[in-house]
């Protein structure tokens, strides 16, 4: 019985603990950390078992509350959703360790509020990666969005304004999505993804309505994942968020939304519908992705603040994934899915490093980063690994997903996408080496060859709670990179026939 319901526990644990954190946190601050870590540790642990179960015994569908489909809410656990579940739980767990520390510095006295929202967000994300019901997706999407608005709004300075901007754009996106679901309901009378898919396949007319529904769904999701040119809300929202929120939201939100796009495209609609019947659209989207990658990479150039630079890089990475999916071949799709995993980890690593740097230096503008390799060697070492992953240096994971994406682009003949990917790697190299160079040299003055006194710069590393998840993630980047073959063979290739 446990095996069949474990994923529910994985989702429920953060949710229940959220309420506990709020109530018990009011009594004493000491309750917050154990509850958060306990809940997320349990989720991660459970997610490992769920993945193992799915890989050995195959996928299964689960009805919540025993209401049979298509009336009840159905969850699908296939290798892809199980892997996403593990990814979300692991990233959340690592991020929470860091968040506990940085929130105690940035938002003293309000930790229990913060973590209530934090845990509900994670519960929502866990649900999102498992859901097989179109309306349930909307509900969970809104849960995650609203908690994100709250978390971002808790920051200082322009955070509430950025959050408000995000609310507007995010709600528009959600409404578009809802409109799309509405159209589908009118057409098919069902909200269950598999059911809709079957009914749509048998429909005689209603082609325009179906296409419109698809368009609304896509645009809605694109707003949510900050696909250029619908990305305007992201840089402000992510850079003004508190560090503890940023480390969780930045790696996960956009990637899960990309996953949702894949679900919608392949579980509700079919590849035949998207790629064959509307081939012009497919080409257009790949072109837009290429432009998205290049524009976002170039916009990142003008940033003088580390976190803002990273947010523009996130927008470029979204372009990678959307382009990869819309290449309409298995290689591109494998690359996109692999990139979801890799990008989540890379972004986590870089945001954790940013969080550690901000904790010690008080800011993230380039001025604050001088000579950081001496003052915070471990942090910068991990940052360097994250940077190499973004650039695409083997054996970090970033290289392998880029390989699949470039290969997919070459196979599909979309050379603009290949060029955009190569260009983006070069631009990332420049962006990150700018920072590495600033952090490498202690001061602006030239010392010439005569001054050899070792100024004993004091090593002032970040506290352990910020450092540990960072180091673990940096190591994971290499481990996941070397296991790319396993991930692709055992998880992605298994799911592909179902998707295609």
């Amino acid at each position: 019985m446990i095996k069949q319901n474990l994923h529910m526990f994985v989702m429920a644990a953060p949710l229940l603990c959220a309420f506990a954190v709020n109530l018990l946190g009011r009594l004493s601050r000491a309750w917050v950390a154990p509850l958060v870590l306990g809940a997320l540790g349990f989720s991660t642990y459970g997610a490992i078992f769920v993945l193992q179960e799915v890989l050995t015994n195959g996928s299964f569908r689960y009805v919540v509350g025993n209401w049979t489909a298509p009336y009840g809410i159905e969850l699908v656990l296939d290798p892809l959703s199980a892997m996403m579940l593990l990814l979300v739980s692991t990233v959340a767990f690592l991020a929470s360790i860091s968040a506990l520390k940085s929130v105690s510095q940035e938002l003293p006295g309000r930790e229990h509020f913060f973590f209530t929202l934090f845990l509900i967000l994670i519960a929502g994300l866990n649900g999102l990666v498992m859901t097989a019901d179109a309306f349930n997706l909307y509900v969970l999407l809104e849960i995650t969005s609203i908690t994100t608005y709250g978390l971002i709004g808790m920051g200082s300075g322009r955070a509430p304004l950025s959050s408000f901007n995000y609310i507007i754009m995010g709600s528009i996106g959600a409404c578009f999505y809802l409109l799309g679901v509405g159209y589908l309901y009118i057409l098919t009378g069902s909200l269950n993804m598999a059911d809709i898919s079957t009914i749509l396949g048998g429909l005689q007319g209603g082609n325009v309505a179906t296409a419109t529904a698809f368009a609304f769904l896509m645009v809605g999701l694109w707003v949510k994942m900050a696909f250029f040119p619908l990305h305007g809300w992201l840089p402000n929202a992510y850079s003004h968020a508190p560090s503890g929120a940023g480390v969780m939201i930045a790696p996960l939100m956009t990637k899960v939304t990309v996953y949702l796009m894949i679900r919608v495209m392949f579980s509700i609609f079919s590849p035949e519908f998207e790629f064959v019947r509307h081939a012009g659209v497919q080409n257009l989207i790949v072109w837009v992705s290429a432009i998205a990658i290049i524009c976002a990479s170039l916009l990142a150039f003008s940033q003088r603040d580390l976190k803002r630079m990273l947010t523009y890089i996130i927008v470029a990475e979204v372009g990678y994934m959307v382009g990869g999916v819309w290449l309409a071949n298995t290689t591109g799709l494998s690359g996109a899915i692999l990139h979801i995993v890799n990008d989540a980890l890379m972004t986590l690593c870089l945001f954790l490093a940013a969080s550690a740097i901000a904790y010690r230096t008080g800011g993230l503008s380039f001025e604050h980063l001088r000579g950081l390799y001496r003052k915070m060697p471990v942090t910068m070492a991990a940052f360097t690994i994250g940077a190499f992953a973004m650039i695409g240096v083997p054996p970090t994971c970033g290289f392998f997903s880029k390989w699949y994406l470039i290969l997919g682009g070459a196979e599909a003949g979309h050379w603009e996408f290949v060029a955009a990917l190569v260009l983006s790697s070069l631009v990332n190299a420049i962006l990150f080496f700018r920072i590495i160079e600033i952090a490498f040299y202690p001061t602006e003055e030239s010392h010439g060859h005569g001054h050899h006194e070792q100024e004993k710069v004091k090593v002032q590393e970040a506290p352990l709670m910020l450092l540990n998840p960072l180091v673990i993630t940096a190591v994971l980047l290499i481990v996941v990179g070397l296991s790319s073959g396993t991930i692709v063979n055992d998880v992605i290739r298994v799911v592909l026939p179902d998707l295609f």
């Binding site: 650039i391 240096v393 080496f433 160079e437 040299y441 006194e453 990179g481 070397l482 073959g485």
Partner: protein, 492 residues
């Protein structure tokens, strides 16, 4: 012969990578830290030499690290060509480490821990390039080499070092990501594999334009080989401390570039296929232009290290030229020159560093009469330059002779002319240095009392200089191991 599956290749690569950790930890105890470097260097030479007998008999060692992409694992294989490069690199690293200790201490340099640790990682990557079994693994270690040598190039804390570091990365990372990566992907989509196989993996049935494009991308993409116009990073990198210049930019980094191009020519495309597609001419033309231009520019350089840098650019193109000749002797000469040039050039760079340590002089015009005060150093310099020029009884003669024979074998008279002219140019930019050092009378400032106090370089610098200089001579008389490895590599 047999392919032995063993962890020795991985051990040889990893020993210095893991050894960087104790080096980093012994920051406060310089003697222990230097001791670690020597221990790792000796260990590496031993591990590689232990594999030598099997390779000489025609066997090879293999180790798979991870199956990362379908058909392309991260894999190490020690075959004759890889063993050739690895032997040279590891042997010379041992002596570079000894030299480094002498140099860095004499100048009381800063950041020595970072220096030695980066060096350890860099040699690890070099051996990784040598032992790579396929193009992906080679690319992986090539990139690690670029990145680990950045802290060494940017070592000095001045604006010049910063600018040179940027130039270094721009050229080297830019070409590897911008040219080699797409070329690898295209190659993979054509053949489904990236393994190095004797005779190449491209059949003659492939589209000629695609193959030409790939050759262009690879030859220019491996910018560490200094093919013009992507050569400018090399003179700029001379701001690094001299042991860096001598080892990395005389032996490891630049040879990794030339080695990679030769690997691709011999074991990805294959000489027959290149002949079929008439691509040998393209390769030799590009190489010839680089040789002549680099040799001419070298004549104009007064800074000794910059002159050596341009000389290196020219010499690297000899290796590519030899490979491009696609004739038996030509290819032999090109590959052999990796070893002969390494010994000669490192001697020259070691001497440049010794001169700087002893007298603080960087410019050739200031070095009149210095040879009388530093006879051993300049004597070694003389031997090194003879090897580069290609005169007996120095090892460089054997590789140059093979190149000359190769051009005759292939009826490529223009190449013969290029070889002869460039040898004359080599003599023109090296021999005056030696002549003036021994026979000229110092003018002006150089003749003051200060100058009289200049003595020979410290012992830790002198020993490696003598070893490599004598090595260049020894290679003339005992080239057998190198010749055998080269022959096994080209004609298995």
């Amino acid at each position: 012969m047999e392919n032995v599956y063993s962890i020795w290749p991985l051990a040889a690569v990893l020993i210095s990578l893991l050894g960087a950790i104790p080096i980093l930890l012994s920051d406060r105890t310089p003697n222990i830290r230097e001791g670690w470097t020597i221990v790792i260097a000796v260990g590496k030479v031993w591990l590689i030499a232990a594999m030598l007998p099997t390779v000489l008999a025609g066997g090879s060692f293999e180790f798979t690290i991870a199956q990362v992409l379908p058909g392309v694992p991260i894999q190490l294989r020690v075959d004759a060509m890889g063993m050739f490069f690895a032997l040279i690199a590891s042997f010379l690293w041992l002596f570079t480490s000894i030299y480094s200790i002498g140099y860095m201490r004499a100048l009381e340099e800063h950041d020595q821990t970072r220096y030695f640790a980066s060096f350890a990682v860099a040699i690890s990557a070099t051996i990784g390039v040598a032992f790579a079994a396929n193009l992906l693994t080679l690319y992986l270690f090539y990139e690690i080499l670029s990145l680990s040598t950045y802290p060494l190039v940017a070592h000095e804390r001045n604006a010049e070092a910063k600018a040179s570091g940027r130039k270094y990365l721009t050229y080297i990372l830019g070409t590897s990501i911008g040219l080699v990566l797409p070329a690898m992907v295209i190659l993979y989509s054509l053949t489904g594999t990236l393994d190095f196989k004797s005779g190449g993996i491209i059949g003659t049935g492939c589209n000629a334009q695609v193959i030409t494009l790939l050759v262009v991308l690879f030859v220019f993409g491996f910018a560490k080989a200094g093919i013009m116009p992507f050569h400018a990073w090399l003179p700029a990198a001379m701001v690094a401390p001299t042991p860096v210049s001598s080892f990395l930019h005389g032996v490891a980094v630049v040879k990794a570039g030339a080695f990679s191009i030769l690997r691709v020519i011999f074991h990805i495309f294959g000489p027959e296929q290149l002949q079929y597609f008439n691509l040998g001419t393209f390769i030799t033309t590009v190489a010839s232009i680089t040789i002549i231009v680099a040799s001419l520019v070298a004549l104009t350089q007064d800074n000794l290290k910059r002159r050596l840098a341009y000389s290196t650019i020219g010499q690297l193109s000899y290796m590519v030229l030899g490979a491009g000749m696609l004739s038996a002797a030509g290819m032999t000469g090109g590959l052999l020159h990796i070893g002969m040039h390494a010994f000669g050039k490192i001697t020259l760079f070691f001497c440049a560093g010794a001169i700087y340590v002893a007298s603080k002089k960087k410019y050739i015009s200031e070095m009149d009469g210095l040879g009388r005060r530093m006879p051993i150093t300049f004597g070694a310099f003389f031997l090194g330059s003879m090897s580069i020029i290609g005169l007996p009884p120095l090892g460089g003669f054997i590789s140059k002779w093979n190149l000359v024979i190769g051009s005759v074998q292939g009826n490529q008279i223009p190449l013969l002319i290029v070889l002869l002219v460039s040898s004359l140019l080599n003599a023109a930019y090296f021999l005056p240095i030696v002549y003036r050092a021994f026979f000229a009378v110092p003018q002006g400032e150089a003749a003051t009392e200060e100058a009289v106090k200049i003595q020979e370089a410290p012992l830790l610098c002198l020993i490696p200089i003598c070893v490599t200089a004598i090595g260049s001579v020894a290679l003339f008389f005992y080239p057998d191991i190198f010749l055998r490895l080269v022959q096994l590599a080209l004609f298995p």
